[in-house]
Subunit: 188 residues, 2 copies
DNA sequence: TGCCCCTTCCTGAAAATTCAGTCAAGGGTT
DNA sequence: AACCCTTGACTGAATTTTCAGGAAGGGGCA
């Protein structure tokens, strides 16, 4: 599909990564996508529509690359590590996703309407992580796994924000996350 | 100081906590502070100036209330715990500070101008935390203390965002943080 | 004391800018 | 023709920013 609609969504993803959800200007988006602003309204109705569709687009893309980890990982511990470190990479795609996620989280503080989706996505992620922890440490209790998963994912969000806001070098963030996984696993 | 300049900064903190950095309108701020919009420009030059000074104001205020813990704590471990849990409380002041801090962190992703102050405030905080960890576990290495401090503070930021965005009940966030402190200390 | 000058703080009003959103119309395809 | 896609030219409303000037207070000085 080289259709313009998709081109607009891709461009929106880029603009959001550059300016944030709240910094997205319809005109800048049209320039980025190489179309007129009117076309954007034709396809998405209004600014909120752009945001909604783009967020769906991003979520879908994230789901895809998260899912494509090696299907039958041998070492569950390495699998866990890989799954989490996936979010701390300096590729356009990951950067775009992390940025959008951070924006979403920050926006939800002021816009209750966003909270439900956010909460759902978060618990899904936490559960998946708990699952991986369970595979790495079958003897731990489910409660302990759940709590550790919440800590690791929350930590990852915190590290990610520091990385994106230029407070923490990427490699250092990755190292800290590895250590945290280490500490948590030793604990279980 | 009942000077208007400070009144404006206090009001800005409140407005940011209510609307977010990007939601701050100079006019709403002037109403909140009970002054004319012109006065705000007189004191802060432009919107960016308001933001910059407010950031300083917030970090300073946070530093102050973080520092005013009991001077000669007997139990360093309890001291550490108290220091960190201080940021997870549902009082207007803490909520305001945490919200504003989260906003600033999120804004810094897109506005490099904010990064320097943010980074400085963050390292100060991390160092102070590492210091407390050192007192709780004198035998650990400075490097280990520093890394643990980075993890705990980043985790706290992550938990704080989840709390403020309605994803995580406050008490649960506090519990997770306590456990993390536990895990990290056991580790050192 | 009374007067002049200078600075600081502050305001109302208006100008300038920014932005989302609209509309009439054109080109291509079926 | 009927339909889909697309655009340039605009508009109205919201916001930021500028500006001319007023009130209040201090210092020097006749």
């Amino acid at each position: 599909m080289s259709d313009r609609r998709t081109a607009i969504l891709k461009a929106a993803t880029r603009v959001i990564a550059r300016r944030g959800v709240r910094g997205l200007r319809v005109e800048e988006l049209s320039a980025e996508a190489g179309v007129s602003t009117s076309l954007i309204y034709y396809h998405f109705t209004d600014r909120a529509g752009i945001l909604r569709r783009t967020l769906e687009f991003i979520t879908e893309r994230a789901r895809r690359y998260t899912a494509e980890r090696d299907p039958d990982a041998v070492d569950p511990r390495a699998d866990l590590e890989q799954a989490l470190l996936l979010e701390l990479q300096d590729t356009p795609e990951v950067r775009e996703n992390s940025t959008a996620w951070g924006e979403l989280r920050a926006s939800a503080v002021f816009e209750p309407g966003l909270r439900e989706d956010l909460a759902k996505a978060t618990t899904t992620w936490v559960h998946a992580t708990a699952e991986l922890l369970g595979r790495a440490r079958p003897l731990g209790t489910a409660t302990a796994h759940a709590a550790a998963a919440e800590r690791l994912t929350a930590l990852l969000e915190g590290l990610s924000m520091r990385w994106l806001s230029g407070t923490l070098p990427l490699e250092h963030a990755r190292e800290l996350l590895r250590q945290a996984i280490d500490v948590e696993l030793r604990q279980l």
